[in-house]
């Protein structure tokens, strides 16, 4: 068994909306291991980013309530001071953001932006920092490092910028890399390159990666284990093969059925009925997915669904999966 780098225990992230707190992430427990890609998938708004940002405390403290524990290197990050977190951010945990267009400071050369985290986490000399930066640029596949060093973000293409963002995240060889939709804004060809880059980095640096995405294709390509999130909860957790071959939770199965597949084309796609309710209207009890599979009888749901291990390392929430079928008679589990 690989060593774990991050343990999330019963994490609850709540946001204040008009004087009341609503949980966007509800009782999530996860472990990321060394040299492993743990993917989190789910529809927009299900709380993926909220989860990721809470790990290194990037939510605005005055509007957010964090409960549970995020244990990293034996410390609960949720209780750390900002100063202490700053020692970890960028050094032990790197983060990659979705939109490379806005994630970089438009007024700083990319070289300086990469170097910046070394300023606070290392004692390297100026020249050493520069060398390390050039090395990193090379590493993330920037063709002309010393030239690019002095470039400003707007002078680079989207793919290049995303590489810079990755370079920033891996500057200090972090033990954990959080990648929030790292390829969503990119073209497929670039996406393929970035996926490969991340994969290589993971292997070389022995890093644990928390990959957040809504693209099942990316998951299939990159992940070792997958957590499927719905409405703030994890509904299914399994390794990638299991999940793609034996998905159990109705949500996972519906999701897989709704994407046009290159391999097995079909005339009509599966449609998940209804919509994800907004944060303020989420059902807080019972199976949160029940309204979207209305043809499954209420009684088939657990009153208090929990995530349980149905086979080794395959966790599913609620018992409804045992009774689930596609109304159009689609594929069988």
């Amino acid at each position: 068994m690989k060593r774990s780098v991050l343990q999330i225990e019963s994490l609850r992230v709540s946001f204040r909306i008009q004087d009341e707190y609503y949980a966007a992430v509800d009782d999530v427990s996860l472990t990321v291991h060394e040299n492993e890609v743990l993917a989190i998938v789910g529809e927009s708004g299900c709380g993926k980013s909220a989860l990721a940002l809470s790990i290194i405390g990037l939510h605005p403290p005055e509007r957010t309530k964090l409960e549970g524990a995020v244990v990293f290197k034996g410390k609960n990050l949720l209780t750390q001071s900002v100063q202490a977190l700053n020692q970890i951010r960028g050094k032990d945990i790197g983060m990659i953001f979705q939109d490379p267009l806005t994630a970089l400071n438009p007024l700083m050369t990319v070289g300086k932006q990469i170097e910046e985290s070394m300023d606070y986490h290392t004692t390297l000399s100026t020249a050493e920092k520069r060398n390390r930066t050039l090395e990193l640029l090379e590493h993330v596949g920037i063709p002309n490092p010393s030239q690019t060093y002095d470039r400003y973000p707007h002078e680079l293409s989207g793919g290049m910028r995303q590489r810079i963002v990755i370079a920033i995240a891996i500057t200090c060889n972090p033990a954990l890399l959080i990648a929030d939709e790292p390829t969503t804004a990119l073209d497929v060809t670039i996406q393929a390159q970035i996926i490969r880059l991340l994969k290589n980095l993971q292997q070389q640096l022995n890093t644990g990666i928390l990959l957040i995405t809504h693209d099942l294709g990316v998951v299939a390509e990159m992940a070792d284990r997958v957590a499927v999130m719905y409405a703030g909860e994890i509904v299914e957790l399994a390794d990638v093969h299991t999940l793609f071959t034996r998905p159990l939770h109705p949500y996972t199965r519906s999701l897989l059925q709704s994407i046009p597949s290159l391999q097995t084309p079909k005339e009509t796609l599966h449609v998940i009925q209804g919509i994800v309710p907004p944060l303020t209207k989420l059902p807080r009890t019972g199976c949160r997915f029940r309204s979207r599979i209305s043809w499954i009888h209420e009684s088939k749901h657990e009153p208090h669904p929990i995530l349980r291990e149905v086979e080794p390392n395959h966790w599913v929430r609620c018992t409804c999966y045992q009774h689930f079928y596609f109304p159009d008679g689609g594929e069988k589990a």
Binding site: G217, A223, I259, V271
Partner: protein, 308 residues
């Protein structure tokens, strides 16, 4: 049966600079493309971001002026028409927009949104108008009471249906769909795509379907054109493109698609590396000195490739 024919279409955007806002160059957004649509088919336009897909679509519907070339619709060259003359073709060509949020005016009720074309072209009494709009709204699967709501009260998928209802109001023959689902969540995408397929049959529509998602293109289209920097690199039927790609660029594009089967991850990775290598090695064979593609060459009845 040729329905719409695009002939050597060019759209060059002037790039202005300096303080006198002089034209200092041109972006060749579309640079001499030709293709034709047959009645009732779905023609897919694929390519990387910025290759000119949207521009092509918008030029056909008259939102962008063509720099050169012809767009023959029912034998009439749309690029030669004045604004006024164009109006009558408006009814025949409609568009579905990418972003269901910005394509509906947030200040208008669904009724007003869907009735807008009716008010422009047909003089109907308010009752008739409402009946017609409600009919359409029901057709796209929404409750007829929805006509009194505002767009923000709908989900993305529902909004996109409203957009489609609006496009259908005048019984168009051709619908240009510019990335109709790319702003939607996976779970909602399916809904819209299915629906588009349904109404195509019902209304005998022809689609020009623009997307960068090859999965969706494959799901939807009969014939496909691959664009690269304002030009076509390959054109063919769905099977030809997906099973027998000829141009290295097409191959690379196809190989980049993430494989939904985790078991074949390694395989896919290898294939990709191979093609990437080929791409670099064979680059000069497929692209000219300026990095532009060659004119299309017909290699079968339906299949053309840009090779020298």
């Amino acid at each position: 049966m040729t329905f719409l024919r695009v002939n050597q279409l060019k759209v060059h955007y002037p790039v202005r600079g300096g303080f006198f806002r002089k034209v200092i160059g041109h972006v060749k957004a579309v640079d001499g493309i030709s293709f034709e649509l047959k009645k009732g088919e779905t023609y897919g336009l694929v390519g990387e971001s910025g290759c000119g897909k949207t521009t092509t679509g918008r030029t056909i519907i008259g939102l962008v002026k063509a720099t050169a070339g012809e767009i023959l619709f029912d034998g009439k060259d749309l690029t030669k028409l004045s604004r006024r003359e164009f109006v009558q073709y408006r009814k025949d060509i409609q568009m579905i927009f990418q972003d269901p949020y910005s394509s509906l005016n947030p200040r208008k009720r669904v009724l007003d949104i869907v009735a807008e074309p009716l008010r422009n072209f047909e003089k109907l009494s308010p009752q008739e108008e409402k009946r017609k709009v409600q009919g359409l709204i029901e057709k796209v699967g929404l409750h007829s009471d929805s006509v009194y709501k505002y767009p923000h009260e709908f989900s993305g998928g529902q909004r996109q249906r409203i957009g489609i209802a609006r496009a259908l109001t005048l019984n168009p023959k051709l619908i240009i769909a510019d990335e109709p689902v790319s702003a939607l969540d996976v779970s909602v995408q399916a809904q819209v795509l299915n629906f588009m397929k349904d109404i195509q049959k019902e209304f005998q529509l022809t689609y020009l379907f623009i997307s960068h998602d090859l999965g969706i293109i494959r799901h939807m289209c009969d014939r496909i054109g691959i664009m690269y920097r304002g030009q076509f690199v390959e054109e063919g039927t769905k099977d030809e493109i997906f099973h027998d790609p000829k141009h290295i660029y097409t191959k690379r594009l196809l190989a980049s698609i993430p494989n939904a089967d985790p078991l074949r991850r390694q395989e896919q990775q290898k294939l990709r590396q191979q093609i990437e290598k080929d791409y670099e090695q064979l680059y000069s064979r497929y692209f000219d000195a300026e990095g532009r593609v060659y004119p299309l060459k017909r290699i079968s009845e339906t299949h053309s490739v840009a090779i020298p």
